[in-house]
């Protein structure tokens, strides 16, 4: 029973953490929090699921295609909905409304075209979502693999920021003008960050599909959970995001057991507000603290 709870909490939590990592990738160079990120994740899940279920593609190709397509979409979003309003006022909050509008457009178009019916996605071979024969617990091999993969991905992303490109992205995050003087093109960095963040969102969506099923409602829920993970973990910290994701996942799983699933969001909001009140910068120190 406890093992079930921990594993399902960590599985959901890893996904929330990965959504938050996606937020971080986009946030760093542009200081923009993408309100359509949840829908990018949803698109990745739906896209890959459709290619596999209806066009019978192998999962590797379906995943790559979804990542490329969603990455391109995020690139376009940055060009159309973000750069334009930032050019008008770099301190304004118009981008909140424009990225929110993009989210509404994506969610509704996908809903109209594909319907509200969730698509069941099988786990890629040899993994399975069936319960493993562990004494009385319903833990699947896919859940365990997902938790491990999330950890690997976060380590990989942190490594990436130690590369030359990653350092350039961090320099842009720190001081756009100074980075420009060093020969870094902030516009290119932010374009590529958005494309990368979009592809990462699609990957997250693909990973989520076997446990959560692919459906249009995925976007809204993951936006809020991802935000909670990013805020609790400390914006910009990928390690913090994963830990915070786990905390949320475990809290949620226990709340569902002790209270009722309907109180999940309420409990999460309570946790977020408490953390923001006590440690506004999140549990792992973050970029936010430095902008004061």
């Amino acid at each position: 029973m406890v093992l079930d709870l921990v594993v399902s909490g960590l599985t959901a939590g890893s996904l929330y953490g990965l959504v938050a990592v996606g937020f971080n990738i986009l946030y760093r160079p542009t200081k923009v929090f993408n309100f359509a990120q949840g829908d990018l994740v949803m698109l990745g899940a739906m896209g890959a699921a459709l290619l596999m279920a209806r066009a019978h593609w192998h999962w590797t190709f379906a995943l790559l295609a979804a990542c490329a397509a969603v990455g391109a979409l995020a690139w376009i979003e940055e060009r159309v909905a973000v750069t334009t309003v930032l050019a008008r006022s770099s301190s304004g909050t118009a981008w909140i409304i424009t990225t929110l509008a993009v989210s509404m457009i994506i969610a509704n178009l996908v809903g109209k075209l594909l319907g509200a019916e969730p698509i069941i996605v099988p786990a890629p071979w040899p993994l399975s979502t069936d319960a493993l024969p562990i004494a009385g617990a319903s833990v699947s091999s896919y859940q365990l693999a997902l938790i491990a993969l999330a950890l690997v991905l976060v380590v990989a992303i942190e490594r990436m920021y130690r590369s030359l490109w990653g350092k350039a992205a961090l320099a842009v995050a720190e001081d756009r003008d100074a980075a420009l003087l060093r020969g870094i093109d902030p516009a290119a960095i932010s374009r590529w960050s958005w494309a990368l963040g979009g592809a990462f969102a699609a990957l997250t969506g693909y990973m989520a599909a076997p446990v959560l099923s692919a459906s249009t409602t995925l976007g809204g829920a993951l936006l809020l959970k991802g935000f909670a993970a990013a805020a609790i973990g400390g914006l910009g910290s990928n390690r913090g995001a994963l830990i915070a994701g786990w905390i949320i996942g475990l809290t949620e799983a226990s709340a569902a057991l002790l209270l009722s699933p309907g109180y999940q969001n309420a409990v999460m909001l309570l946790v977020v507000l408490t953390v923001l009140l006590v440690r506004p910068g999140g549990i792992v120190s973050s970029l936010e603290a430095r902008t004061v």
Binding site: F33, F35, V80, A81, T84, V85, R88, S91, G92, T93, A94, I96, I97, T98, L100, A101, V102, S103, M104, I105, A107, N108, L109, K112, A178, G220, L223, L224, F227, A228, A231, S260, G262, Y263, Q264, N265, A266, M268, L269, V272, L273, L276, L277, P280, E288
Partner: protein, 609 residues
């Protein structure tokens, strides 16, 4: 414009202008009353039903415009505040048999208090934290409305909500409509007064230029909280009307789309425009009729409309230039009485004692000490990166020093936030002028005097005498200051339209508006012409002569030599020399470090401070 020539040759132009203006206003009010009476004349009850609903929505939109339009905080959870007001009113009326009026008050209280608890932690952080917390909040409220069956009646909602009654007699739908319309007109008037007062100026400053707001003594956190409180009260009131108008409320009425809907209304109408929410709501109630066949594509249409408007018409319908000619000209103003500039509140000396500051291990200030006497100008000079601006930022509270003390008279400034230091009597300017470009020059200066105004929000809302006195005195003082810096002729122009040199002068006038004991000037001469430079020198001399302590960071040594009584030279975060201008500029170390003389090895270190 409204420049009607004098009708009567004996009437002075200003008075004729005033009568024309009053006629303008009277016409506007008559038209408004006729428009409001229209739904009462319409046949059938459906128009009345829709008009009442539109009125309730308009209340929410007017409030949201204060928060999102003026204070710049995007709320994605206003629907939830309406839900709280609605549910509180409905449950108290149905289950506890309260009267509508006390239930509506309770609804407003619940909406604003729970809203504040939700908003408090997020208001200190970036604006998008607020947006996401409100979005989560709206989700939680609908979840709870379904889940907490014992209180909310669960999914089926609250049914049989009676109409409001006065002395035991229930109001007819027409009377309910009139009540709602009255509330909308009152809310509009209150908001109009608030945005024209220091509260409105503070909100816009917090939105567009937080640094300028803090430097003017405005607590960003408090003004945002205030804007949120006003908008939550109106949302709660609207919720109360919503409940009695619908007679049945269910959790489904208050989904996330419901919140987004209000955002769209004010974006369509015009963010931060007084008439925006009114126009936006009206468009929204006419549009569905046009969109009939597209009903199922509603949310998609919302999304496309939001994106298109934000990209191509960020000021909405009310912000379109074609309305400009109908905008009533401001009531005429008498020329300011010629009186002398007000002296500072107190003549206080500034003592800086061994302050130090590191940024991530880079030493910006190692040890800086200086004393500036009241009624004199003290200059801070040194190569770029020597810590001059850091010193100003520490004194004005924009940066906390790692160690050391700063005292103004008997006040210990160290550790206080910037707005609190401004309120203690420290005015400052910035290296690049931080004005509010769309605001008039006069309002920019009045922003600086915000801390000196005494009328509370309630007095402003009710238009009590003290708010009128604040407006009169504030305007007079601001005009006085503008005359002092030589810009009174440009008082009504948008500040952003002024050339750079004049913007600096406006910023100095703004810094003086709070009658500061200490004025901090950060490179005021940069980019000025010789002529402007000369006038700046005279200006600073007369500011100091009135008893203000002036601390100036400047590279222009002739100006320094002319106006300052004492000079401190900084080099790499340390005091290199201090004394009178003559002593200091002849000091060999200064010549070596600052002028880069001797040995041909300039020690000037280029580092942005």
């Amino acid at each position: 414009m409204d420049q009607t020539p004098a009708l009567n040759p004996t009437t002075p132009p200003a008075a004729a202008h005033a009568t024309a203006w009053h006629r303008h206003a009277a016409l506007g009010w008559t038209l408004l009353l006729v428009a409001l009476a229209l739904p009462l004349a319409a046949p059938g009850t459906f128009t009345l039903f829709l008009a009442t609903q539109a009125g309730a929505m308009m209340l929410v939109a007017i409030g949201l415009n204060v928060l999102t339009g003026y204070a710049g905080l995007v709320s994605l959870g206003h629907g939830a505040l309406v839900a709280l007001g609605s549910y509180t009113t409905a449950l108290l009326m149905v289950d506890a048999h309260w009267s509508f009026w006390s239930a509506a008050l309770a609804g407003m209280a619940v909406a604003s208090v729970s809203g504040l608890v939700m908003a408090l932690p997020a208001l200190r952080l970036s604006s998008w934290y607020f947006a996401l917390v409100t979005l989560t909040f709206s989700q939680v409220v609908t979840d709870l409305a379904v889940e907490w069956r014992g209180l909310t009646h669960g999914f089926s909602g609250v049914v049989g909500i009676p109409p409001p009654s006065i002395a035991g007699r229930p109001l007819t739908p027409a009377e309910v409509y009139v009540t709602v319309a009255l509330c909308v007109v009152l809310a509009f008037i209150v908001v109009r007064r608030l945005v024209a007062s220091r509260f409105g100026r503070s909100m816009v400053a917090a939105r567009d230029n937080p640094l300028a707001a803090s430097a003017s003594g405005i607590s960003l956190w408090r003004i945002k909280l205030f804007a949120f409180f006003v908008s939550a009260l109106l949302a709660g009131l609207a919720g109360a009307f919503f409940a009695v108008q619908k007679t049945v409320i269910t959790p489904e009425d208050f989904g996330t789309d419901f919140s987004i809907f209000f955002l769209l209304m004010i974006v369509v109408g015009g963010l931060g425009r007084l008439w925006g929410p009114v126009v936006g709501t009206l468009i929204f109630f006419l549009l569905p009729e046009l969109l009939g066949p597209l009903q199922s594509w509603r949310v998609l249409v919302y999304g496309v409309a939001l994106l298109t408007l934000m990209l191509y018409a960020p000021h909405g319908v009310a912000g379109m230039t074609l309305w400009r000619r109908w905008r009533a000209a401001a009531p005429p103003r008498d020329a300011p009485a010629a009186r002398d500039l007000d002296p500072p509140r107190a003549a206080l000396a500034l003592h800086i004692d061994a302050i130090a500051k590191q940024f991530d291990g880079v030493v910006a200030l190692e040890c800086c000490s200086l004393v500036a006497q009241p009624g004199a100008t003290h200059a801070l000079v040194g190569p770029n990166g020597s810590g001059k601006t850091t010193t100003l930022n520490v004194v004005s509270g924009f940066i906390a020093a790692d160690s050391g003390r700063v005292r103004l008279g008997d006040h210990d400034l160290a550790g206080r936030p910037a707005h609190a230091i401004a309120r203690l009597g420290v005015g400052r300017t910035f290296q690049t002028p931080k004005l509010l470009g769309e605001m008039s020059v006069l309002d920019n200066v009045r922003l600086g005097g915000a801390a000196a105004e005494r009328a509370t929000a309630l007095e402003v809302a009710l238009g009590l005498p003290r708010s009128a006195r604040d407006a009169r005195d504030g305007t007079a003082a601001a005009l006085q200051l503008l005359r002092f810096v030589g810009l009174d002729a440009r008082a009504d122009d948008a500040a952003g339209a002024l050339p750079h040199g004049q913007q600096r002068l406006v910023e100095i006038a703004r810094a003086l508006a709070s009658r500061p004991s200490l004025l901090l000037l950060d490179e005021p001469a940069a980019g000025l012409s010789m002529d402007e430079l000369d006038r700046l020198g005279t200006l600073i001399e007369s500011i100091a002569a009135r008893g203000t302590t002036v601390l100036i960071v400047e590279h222009h040594l002739e100006l320094i030599a002319r106006i300052s009584r004492s000079v401190t030279v900084l080099d790499r975060g340390r005091v290199l020399a201090a004394g009178t201008p003559d002593e200091v500029f002849r000091h060999p170390d200064v010549e070596r470090a600052y002028m880069g003389r001797e040995g041909g090895r300039p020690t000037m270190k280029r580092r942005s401070s």
